[in-house]
Amino acid sequence: MATVENAGKIIRALKRAGVNFVASLPDASLAYLVEGLDEDNDIVHVPLSREEEGVGVCMGANLAGKRCALMMQNAGLLNSCNALTTTARQIEIPMLLLVLYAGALNDMSFPMLGMVTEPVLDALGIPHYVLNNIDDAPNVVAGALVQAYNAQRPVAILLTKSVL
């Protein structure tokens, strides 16, 4: 079960890395994170209607100097593939992708989604890291953001339900 405490740890990790703009679409496991972001005064939070919009929303903000993250379930990652390719990769826009890893090891939901997630990220040329331990959040978030700017592309952090 997701906890408010873990959501708070992830939001603190984002703020430590200077992330100040997050676009999101909810999942049951992301609900505390969505609520926490809504209440946070240091982060602009944009509620999306479909995940692919978020790539464009983050690009618009990034061009104006914001450090951006797009938070969604892995089904939404699949919805976003065209924009990730023709916007984020083609125009070289750095951003974090915070992706709920449905169908991951020990998760019974959406097994097909779980199986295709990492191969799809590989095909898109998007580096990805699985967050299995909430105590690793500060280093993984900061490291992924540095890599996103260094490689000029999105970098994905796959959030297993154990860290939410």
Binding site: V46, G56, Q147, Y149
Partner: protein, 205 residues
């Protein structure tokens, strides 16, 4: 009216406003009407409302414009719903509705049949929506959008370009276009906006 004439009639109103422009003929027509580093060539069809929203929220003191087409808007119609929900006061979204996918074989779009884009925008909660089909009305709508709070959605009914279609090619490399656009924004904002990996790394304690 033709899109090319409509754009030429309003280009002076934009001054140095950042403009996100949909891929295809609209980009060629706008670059002729207002050549500027402040024009950003969108590569993902339909992303205009989303990119414009992101920048409008990041720079709330500055008008941000999107020049779009009916085919593109229909492809990401949920973008209008998000704009209606978030209500960015500084966003001006202009849709040239020629009722065909003009850059993709001239096949009719849904706006040729069942869809009224202006009504869709109103239903999505966008407070300032205008539909115009004459140059003077278009000019008035754009002027009002620059002078008042939005979000604004202007749906301009235009004829297909037909034989007047711009047949040139855009030669701008999109990465170079991005850097030119950011430098333009930095000049407008009078502050640095672009960060590199070293900036990010040094900022994290």
């Amino acid at each position: 009216m033709k899109r090319k004439e409509a754009l030429a009639a309003v280009s002076i109103l934009f001054e140095s406003t950042p403009c996100f422009v949909t891929v295809g003929l609209t980009w060629l027509d706008w670059n002729t009407a207002r050549p500027s580093d402040g024009n950003f060539h969108l590569k993902t069809l339909g992303s205009g409302s989303s990119v414009g929203l992101g920048m409008a929220l990041a720079l709330p003191h500055r008008k941000i414009a999107v020049l779009d087409g009916d085919g593109a808007v229909i492809m990401n119609a949920n973008g209008l719903i998000t704009v209606g929900r978030v209500q960015p006061k500084n966003l001006i979204h202009i849709v040239f509705d020629n009722k065909i996918y003009e850059s993709s074989g001239c096949i009719p779009t849904a706006s040729a049949y069942n869809l009224n884009i202006a009504n869709f925008g109103r239903a999505a909660g966008i407070p300032h929506v205008r539909q115009v089909d004459k140059i003077d009305d278009f000019k008035t709508a754009v002027k009002d959008a620059f002078e008042s709070d939005g979000p604004h959605l202007i749906v301009a009914q235009v004829e297909p370009s037909g034989e007047d279609a711009n047949t040139s090619y855009s030669r701008l490399n999109e990465i170079e276009g991005k850097f030119k656009f950011m430098r333009h924004l930095e000049r407008l904002e009078k502050r640095p906006l672009r960060e590199d990996a070293v900036d990010i790394k040094l900022s994290i304690r």
